[in-house]
């Protein structure tokens, strides 16, 4: 079992819907990440939060809006998505900004945009 919990596991939404993905970890990790992964491809970094502050936005379209309410929670708000945004969205956490410490991934939310 992963120590990073993501909900929901699956989400189907229309292009006019607003939905949110949620991620939670209780390992005391202070860096949290959103990745997007297409089938059989590596994860692509979207956002990094470090100590609850947004530190990296990899030029992600504004229809994706991250939020870090506290050190344990990370949300990704979705609005007016396109079908090409369908993918597995992975949340990950890391103990701190130490570049050698590993990422702990959740099992992802499988998003389908219709």
């Amino acid at each position: 079992d992963t120590e990073v919990t993501q909900t929901p596991k699956h989400l189907v939404m229309g292009m006019t819907n607003k939905k949110s993905l949620k991620c939670e970890q209780h390992m005391g990790h202070r860096a949290m990440y959103w990745y997007k992964q297409k089938a059989k491809k590596p994860p692509e970094l979207m956002f990094v939060y470090s100590y609850e502050k947004l530190s990296i936005n990899e030029s992600v379209p504004s229809r994706f809006s991250p939020e870090c309410p506290n050190s344990s929670l990370l949300n990704l708000h979705l609005h007016a998505l396109q079908p090409e945004d369908s993918a597995l969205y992975l949340c990950a956490s890391r103990r701190n900004r130490d570049h050698n410490s590993p990422l702990h991934f959740g099992n992802g939310t499988r998003l389908t945009v219709t």
Partner: protein, 115 residues
């Protein structure tokens, strides 16, 4: 842009065979991490190699980090169907404290081990 070239992209073998996956770059990395991802799950860390020339063993898996810290390999002995999955190498680079732990992922190797 730091690139990590991972090969092969696909590998389909019979149970009991050996295999090696390679990860190469022209950049020096401070560490190299290997992850395995099974369908419907997130990637799970297998190992982190930090020192040039380092060799780490995890049961039937052997990981090497090149002397120059630009390349790495994963060797699996006597592969089993349970080894099936997407294998990802990921390089970390110390950018003077501003890297925020940003990893460079290789393109992945999809391994299928047939019984």
């Amino acid at each position: 842009t730091q690139l990590l070239e991972q090969s092969p992209q696909f590998l389909s073998i019979q149970e009991g065979e050996n295999l090696t996956v390679y990860c190469n770059s022209s950049s020096v990395f401070s560490s190299l991490q290997w992850y395995r991802q099974e369908p419907g799950e997130g990637p799970v860390l297998l190992v982190t190699v930090v020192t040039g020339g380092e060799v780490k063993k995890l049961k039937r898996l052997t990981f090497q980090f090149g002397d120059a810290r630009k390349d790495s390999s994963l060797h699996i002995t006597a592969a089993q169907p349970g080894d099936t999955g997407l294998y990802l190498c990921a390089g970390a680079k110390n950018a003077g404290g501003t890297s925020y732990g940003k990893l460079t992922f290789g393109q992945g190797t999809i391994l299928t081990v047939h019984p």
